[in-house]
Symmetry: C2
Subunit: 340 residues, 2 copies
C-alpha cells in the first residue's frame, strides 16, 4: 500500500509538499499540485487512518453505544442507530459500534484508547452508570435520552411529559372519560428508564386535572405475555373508551388482540401510541401515534456532537438539553367514545 513518501517520490517533491498539496493547507503551484494528484492516482494512494490520527489527534470516528436489553424492544433501537450512523457519515465520520451488555467497559475502551473523537449514548437511564465514565473522558458526548444529571453532555430526547399530556388531552376533548395507559415493563423503570414515568406521570396529572379516570399499567416487552396482559386490561376496565400505548411490544401485539375481541378502532375503542412512523410501517400499525422521531433525535445528537468535536462550540460553552415536541400522526384511530 502506497505511502505519502512514495507519492512524494513519484511526484518529485518532498513529503511535506505532497501532504500540503492534498490537504490544501498552504498554497501550491498548479504544476506541483497536478504532479501530486497524478501520483496519487497512479499509486492508488489513501492516507493511513491510524497514522493520521496519531499526527492530528483526530480519528474522525464516533463511538455509538447501543444496548439491547432484555426488557426493551430491539427493532425500535435500530431506528436510533441508523439515524446516528447515517448522519455521522454525511458529516464525514465513521461509527465504532458497541453493542455489548457492559456499556461501561466499551465506553472506557473507546475513549481512553482514543479510538473515537466523540461518543453517542443511546438508551440513557435516569442514573446511567456510563455517564461518570463519559464525563471523565476527554471526548465530548451526546445522549439520546434524559438522565437525572445532564452536566457535561449534550442531551436530546422526546418531550415525554408533553407526550403524555397530549395523549390525554386529545381524548378528553373528544369526550373520553376513562382511559387505559400501557407503559413499558416495570424493570425498565427500575433500571432507570425515566421516559416511562415521565410520560405516565404527566398523563396521570393531566387526567387528574380534568377529572378523567386513567388506569396506568405496565406491560411486558415480550410476546405473547403482552398480548395476554392487554386482554386482561381490557377485561378489567370494560368501560374504558381509550387506550394509550407507551410500549412498542404492546403496540405490535394490539392488532391481533383487538381483532380477536372483535373490536375496531376508533369505533369501539380509541387508540393512540408512542412510536415512530417507521415502526408503524414495519408492524403495519393502524393507530394514530406520537412520533418518537428516532432518526431525528439521532441526527440532532450527532450534529451537536460534531460541532463540539470540531470546535464550533467552545469547551466551556454550556451544554444543551433539547426536547423534541411530540407530534401526533393521525392514522384515524381516535374518535369520539362509542355511545353505550
Amino acid at each position: 500500500m502506497a505511502t505519502i513518501g512514495e507519492v512524494a517520490r513519484v511526484a518529485g517533491v518532498s513529503r511535506s509538499t505532497a501532504s500540503y498539496a492534498l490537504s490544501g493547507k498552504r498554497s501550491i503551484s498548479a504544476d506541483v499540485r497536478r504532479r501530486v494528484e497524478d501520483a496519487v492516482r497512479e499509486l492508488g494512494y489513501t492516507p493511513n487512518a491510524g497514522a493520521r490520527a496519531l499526527a492530528t489527534s483526530q480519528t474522525r470516528v464516533i463511538g455509538l453505544l447501543a444496548q439491547f436489553l432484555e426488557d426493551e424492544f430491539a427493532p425500535a433501537m435500530l431506528q436510533y442507530m441508523l439515524g446516528v450512523s447515517n448522519t455521522a457519515r454525511e458529516l464525514g465520520y465513521d461509527i465504532l459500534l458497541g453493542t455489548e451488555a457492559d456499556g461501561r467497559s466499551a465506553l472506557r475502551r473507546m475513549t481512553s484508547s482514543r479510538m473515537v473523537d466523540g461518543i453517542v449514548l443511546l438508551n440513557v437511564a435516569e442514573q446511567d452508570d456510563r455517564l461518570p465514565i463519559l464525563r471523565e473522558a476527554i471526548q465530548p458526548g451526546a445522549l439520546v435520552g434524559l438522565p437525572g444529571d445532564c452536566t457535561g453532555v449534550d442531551v436530546f430526547d422526546l418531550d415525554f411529559e408533553e407526550a403524555g399530556r397530549v395523549m390525554v388531552e386529545h381524548l378528553r376533548r373528544l369526550g373520553h372519560r376513562e382511559l387505559i395507559l400501557v407503559s413499558q415493563p416495570q424493570h425498565v423503570i427500575e433500571r432507570g428508564g425515566a421516559y416511562v414515568w415521565r410520560l405516565q406521570n404527566a398523563a396521570l396529572e393531566a387526567a387528574r386535572l380534568s377529572g378523567i379516570t386513567l388506569h396506568a399499567e405496565f406491560g411486558s416487552s415480550h410476546q405473547p405475555e403482552v398480548g395476554r396482559e392487554l386482554n386482561a386490561l381490557l377485561d378489567a376496565h370494560p368501560s374504558a373508551t381509550g387506550l394509550l400505548i407507551n410500549n412498542e411490544a404492546a403496540a405490535a401485539a394490539l392488532p391481533s388482540v383487538l381483532h380477536a375481541r372483535g373490536l375496531a378502532a376508533p369505533a369501539d375503542l380509541s387508540v393512540v401510541g408512542r412510536y415512530s412512523d417507521e415502526f408503524a410501517r414495519t408492524f403495519s400499525l393502524p393507530y394514530s401515534s406520537i412520533e418518537s422521531a428516532p432518526d431525528r433525535l439521532g441526527r440532532m445528537a450527532v450534529r451537536e456532537l460534531v460541532r463540539r468535536i470540531e470546535g464550533q462550540v467552545g469547551p466551556d460553552e454550556p451544554h444543551v438539553v433539547r426536547f423534541v415536541s411530540p407530534e401526533l400522526v393521525d392514522r384515524g384511530s381516535i374518535g369520539a367514545p362509542p355511545e353505550r
Copy 2:
C-alpha cells in the same frame, strides 16, 4: 492522557521495558513488572490505539457492512449485525459499522485507509458489486450470503436449497398436495438476492418430483401490501392446504390475515416459514419455521475471519464455503391437510 513514556519514567525503566512488561513478550523481573503495573494504575494508562495500529499494522477492528435496502425487512438484518458484533467483541475486536447505501465506498474507505483488519459483508448478492473491491483489499473478508463467485473470501449461508426441499417434503409426508410459496419481492431477485430463487427452485423441483402442485409467488416487503397479496393468494388458490413463507414481512403480516379470514393453523391451513427464532418471538409468530440462524451465521463468519486475520489460516489456504443445515423449529402449525 498518559503515554508509555510517562509510565516508563514513573516506573524508572525504559519505554521498551515498559512495553514488554505490558505485552509479556519477553521475560521481565518480578520487581520491574510490579513497578510498571503500579505506574499504569497510578497514571490510568491505556495504550493509544492509533499509535499501536501504526506500529503493529493491526487495528483490532473489523468492518461490518450492512445495508438497509428498501425491499428488505430491517428487523431481520439486526439479528445478523448483533451476531457479528457480539462475537467480534468476545474475540477482542471492535466493530466499525458501515450502513450507507453505497457499500462500495464504505468498503473502499475502511480497507484502503487501513481502519480495519478484516471485513464482514452482510446481505451479499449473486453479483455483488462490493466483492471486486473486497478482493483487491489486503484485508481478508467473510460473507454472510452466497455470491456467484466465492473466490478469495470465506462464505457462510443457510442452505436455502435444502430449506426449500425440507418445507415441501415435510408437508408432502403429511398428505398435502397443493401448496403456496410466498417469496421475497421480485426486486430482491433482480438485485441478485440469490437465496430467493435458491429456495424457490429447490421447492419447485421437490414438488415436481413428488407430483405436488406448488404455486410460487413473490410478496412485497411492506405492509399493508403484503397483507393484501396474501389474501389474494389464498383467494386464488382455495384448495391449497399449505403455505410456505420465505418473506419476513409476509410472515409478520400473516397472523392478522389468517385471523380475518377465520383460518387457524394447522386446522385449516398448514404454515411453515423461514426466519429466526428471535424474529418469531419479536413478532409473536406461532408458525413452525426453518431457523435462519442469523446469530450463528454472523458468529461463524467472524470466527473464520479472525482466524485469517491472526494467521491461524495461511493466506493461500483455501477459503471455505459453509452452509448451515436448515433446522425446522416446530411450533405446531403443520398438520395433516383438512378433510374437504
